[in-house]
């Protein structure tokens, strides 16, 4: 009971911090809108000519994933801020198993990323995206949450090992960007050069993108069931690693 309360209050903390930083909320919408408008409308005609069909239907789930990816990695890495501003120490001397602290903040970060994903989902309506069936929406939302959970825990694991902001750029350029661009969020995986296809299959986000595309646009490459299984397994693994890393933090 005590542990549940701790998880809850740390979850709430993440949410409050998010709701209070209006600039962060608004700023993080710029990129998805740009992608939807520039790529969606820009490549739409070529995509249709090549026989791919409606590119917006294809792209929108990818952009939702992008938004979730960025928000959740940032939420996880927020530990560095906590370290910098000293709050981390306060949580680490509390008489609580650190795993609950990690779970609380990871769930909070994942919820924030999920909200962000839902906001982008709403935005896609304005550029002409329509989900194929309402009954699949709950599955889509589950997929969103799993993606958010995975990347928040990943961010937490990484953030636990970083001392300062120096490593931040490296993570954006060598982890977050490749994860996004190689996930099949922007292009179909069918008929890719072999090497690229292998890389795409190794990218965890590919399965998130595929699950969302399957549930929202009705065109999954691997199959939604397979995608969700893979992501769930990955969530368990990374939560475990993240909890380990977090419990080893010294300040």
């Amino acid at each position: 009971m005590k542990n549940l309360k701790i998880i809850y209050i740390l979850w709430l903390r993440q949410l409050k911090r998010y709701v209070r930083s209006k600039s962060r909320m608004i700023g993080s919408l710029g990129q998805p809108i740009l992608f939807l408008v520039a790529l969606g409308f820009g490549f739409g005609p070529i995509y249709a000519k090549a026989g791919g069909g409606n590119y917006m239907q294809f792209l929108a789930p990818g952009v939702m994933c992008m938004s979730i990816l960025f928000t959740s990695i940032f939420s996880g890495i927020e530990i560095i801020w906590d370290r910098q501003f000293g709050y981390l120490k306060e949580t680490l001397v509390a008489p609580v198993s650190r795993i609950y602290i990690m779970i609380g903040r990871t769930l909070g970060g994942a919820t924030v990323a999920m909200i962000q994903g839902l906001v982008v989902f709403t935005l896609t309506f304005f550029v002409g995206f329509r989900p194929i069936s309402l009954t699949m929406l709950p599955v889509a939302f589950l997929a969103m949450f799993l993606i958010a959970l995975f990347f928040t825990a990943l961010g937490t694991a990484i953030g636990s090992r970083l001392d300062d902001m120096q490593g931040f750029q490296i993570i954006i350029n060598f982890l977050v960007m490749p994860l996004f661009f190689l996930s099949g969020a922007l292009f179909p995986i069918d008929g890719l050069p072999k090497a690229l296809e292998i890389v795409t299959r190794l990218d965890p986000l590919s399965y998130g993108v595929d699950a969302l595309r399957g549930t929202l646009s009705g065109a999954a490459h691997f199959g939604v069931g397979f995608d969700l299984t893979i992501i769930s397994i990955l969530v368990l693994i990374v939560m475990f690693i993240g909890a380990k890393m977090f419990s080893k933090i010294e300040v």
């Binding site: 309360k5 209050i9 409050k16 000293g86 001397v93 008489p95 609580v96 001392d163 010294e250």
Partner: protein, 262 residues
């Protein structure tokens, strides 16, 4: 009087740098113990080991009967700490900072609501309870941290240079309150400071640490007698020399060590 803190042969090395070299001391229940030393002497490293934040290279720490390494959570329940540098969530309100602390220490809502009000009134922040901490001045933040550190009624309170940057009024107010708690609840206090008159006024016993070793221990009067000096400041200088130390050497060393570890 039983001991609330027992430190035996405590050592901490950051790679080749020996930050704490085999120190032993005890703090009795109810005592106010000052840990003095120049910058980089090993004070903060010692406090971090005593409060479960840092794993010692070797040695043993017993806090309120529990081993710091074996039962960290029991130990964490029995102490409160005011850190040297800020440790508040500035994006939250003062009340929210207090509330999270209360929940993490397992206090029930009815109890913590009352205690938070009491403590925040005591440090004169109750009318600012719904303000974001980022809008607070340095002194206000310090007061809030002090209130927070006392919220779960710890048996030992660690204060790492708690009055740095506080005006005499706030300093006085803080010590008056701590004194009251010592009398009422038998609170033990372990603190570091660079203000010798603060140590003299508030400590029952003092240990002086320099270059990671304890060079003297005793009551303020003992130390003055031993060094044949008139004030604690002179006693301190007689014990540790007049050479100026590298500011923050201890932090620099540990930070570097951590970076190498990764």
């Amino acid at each position: 009087m039983p001991n609330i803190i027992e430190v035996k042969k405590l050592v901490k090395n950051f790679n080749e740098i020996e930050a704490v070299k085999n120190i032993s001391f005890n703090v009795k229940k109810g005592e106010a113990f000052a840990f003095l030393g120049p910058n980089g002497a090993g004070k903060t490293t010692t406090i971090r080991m005593l409060t479960t934040l840092l794993v010692p290279t070797s040695g043993e720490v017993i806090l309120d009967g529990s081993n710091v390494l074996e039962n960290p959570n029991e130990v964490r329940n029995s102490f409160g700490i005011i850190f040297q540098d800020p440790s508040l969530d500035t994006e939250l309100t003062a009340y929210e900072n207090m509330e999270i602390h209360a929940v993490m220490y397992g206090l029930q809502k009815i109890l913590y609501k009352r205690r938070i009000e009491e403590l925040m009134k005591l440090v004169d922040l109750w009318d600012r309870k719904n303000d974001l901490v980022k809008n607070f001045s340095g002194g206000m933040k310090r007061r809030l941290e002090i209130a927070r550190g006392l919220l779960h009624h710890p048996k030992v309170l660690f204060l790492d240079e708690p009055t740095l940057g506080l005006d005499p009024q706030t300093r006085n107010n803080m010590w008056t309150h701590i004194k009251a708690l010592r009398e009422k609840e038998g609170l033990s206090v372990f603190f570091t400071t660079h203000y010798m008159e603060e140590a003299e006024r508030n400590a029952d016993r003092i240990a002086v640490i320099d270059h990671g070793k304890i060079v003297a221990e005793g009551s303020p009067d003992d130390l003055k007698k031993k060094t044949n000096t008139k004030s604690l400041e002179d006693a301190f200088l007689a014990l540790t020399g007049k050479q100026i130390r590298d500011e923050g050497a201890e932090n620099g060393a540990s930070r570097m060590a951590r970076r190498w570890k990764h």
